[in-house]
Amino acid sequence: MIFKRTIPLLIVLGIGLLGFMQDYVPHPWSASLVDEMTTWSLILGGFAALLGLYSLLHMHWSRMRRKMSGWGYSAFVFIGAIGMMAVGFFSDSIGTVTSGTERVSLYDWGYDYIYIPCAATVFSLLAFYMASAAFRTFRARNLAAGLLLVAAIIVMFGRVPLSETVSEWLLGDRQIIPNMAKAIMDYPNLAAKRGILLGIALGVISQSLRILLGIERSYLGGGD
């Protein structure tokens, strides 16, 4: 028990207090301690990336082995990961390929001409889903929903240049509609966001204290 619970808890308390106190100690020793601790943390981060890669490949390997629904997509994960790793590791021996007017490595070519278009395409589909969802669900069923609808329309319109032309044409001043959008963002939006941020900050402080004092132990595993 002492190795599984007490010592890890003492390490967490000690490191946590050191990390907390260095903010208030401007001595060079304190700065070098933070430097050393963060260096170790970065090294651990590198290993965590390897662990993440193993976990991802293991999950997709299991899906393929069990022939689960959509297992063919998992094969693409392997093709992409192994292919990009191979051209990355052996880029010197593979040489360069022509990209426009320049010569680039095969790894960079794969990133520029496969990854970027695929990722941008998937994300751009969001515009279609958002428009369709807005049409089907954005309804003024009651006063609150009506207010939300009006605010959304003002902000959506006020953010595009066309609003300045329409504002001048209808109201005689180019900035009336954009300023209405800005006022919604500057006051109601800001107030709501600040409330949420304060709530999150208080939650983080209480959770940090629980971890430092050994009340929260779920990160140690074992179910408690």
Binding site: A131, F157, E164, T165
Partner: protein, 288 residues
Amino acid sequence: MSQIRNLPKHYELARRIIYVLIALAVILPYFFNPKQEFKPAIEVENIYKKIESIKPGGHVLISIDYDPASEAELYPMTLAIMRHCFKKGVIPVVMTPWPASVGIARLGCDEAANDANTMFQKKMVSGKDYVFLGFRPGFSQLILKMVNNLKGSFDKDYYGQPTQGMKALEGVNSLKEIDLLVDIAAVGSVEVWIAYGADKAGIPMAAGTTAVMTPDLYPFYQSNQLMGFLGGLRGAADYEKLLKISGRGERGMLAQSATHVLIILLILGANIRLFFGRFFAGGKGASR
């Protein structure tokens, strides 16, 4: 997916018509592209003025915290800020804490450096006029380390040149010597940069985010933890306008205007249908 399949037939048809209209609203404006007049936002102007005030040889650290999925919104603002730095002779120090962002950051550096040659007749050399530090893992820990030791966090740049003794990093040993920190982000990294980077190092910070994330930045702007921000493609267009350069942001404004207006019309149309449906059904009809 099953919910979409179970939609009434007229909704299924409406969905397809909406998809076609959105595609046309996005694509067609790029064929016409008339000049649009608009006033840049004050939040954007603050960043422009700050970079204008930095002496040639000063440093702007740009953290690329987005992957190619957000390229359409965030890449134009990356280019705009880098072009401004090159125009002013300020040294952009580009880095990323995300492995998927390395390629897009490299492209940004290359494109902005090439543009400087054609736009300002300046030949930009990596390691002298700008530096691309590449990727390091650890994120918040990396930022904490950079506050005290930037060159220790990145001992070599992306191209393998040692940062120790690099001309572009002359006088910069830590984040404290950076004149402006700019985080261009599609993830919740702005708060982390504020808490662990800008506030600890005591340097001014600005941010550029996707439009959907921009509302989150207002509390930090009001508390002066952010001296300015660029919100979505409009932010990039505002910056290009201030820079008097026609870029992707400005070119995308007509498409954005058309799409926003179309969505507003769709919402209004659906609500008018709901209202009249209720009216003719005695307040009970048109529930969907």
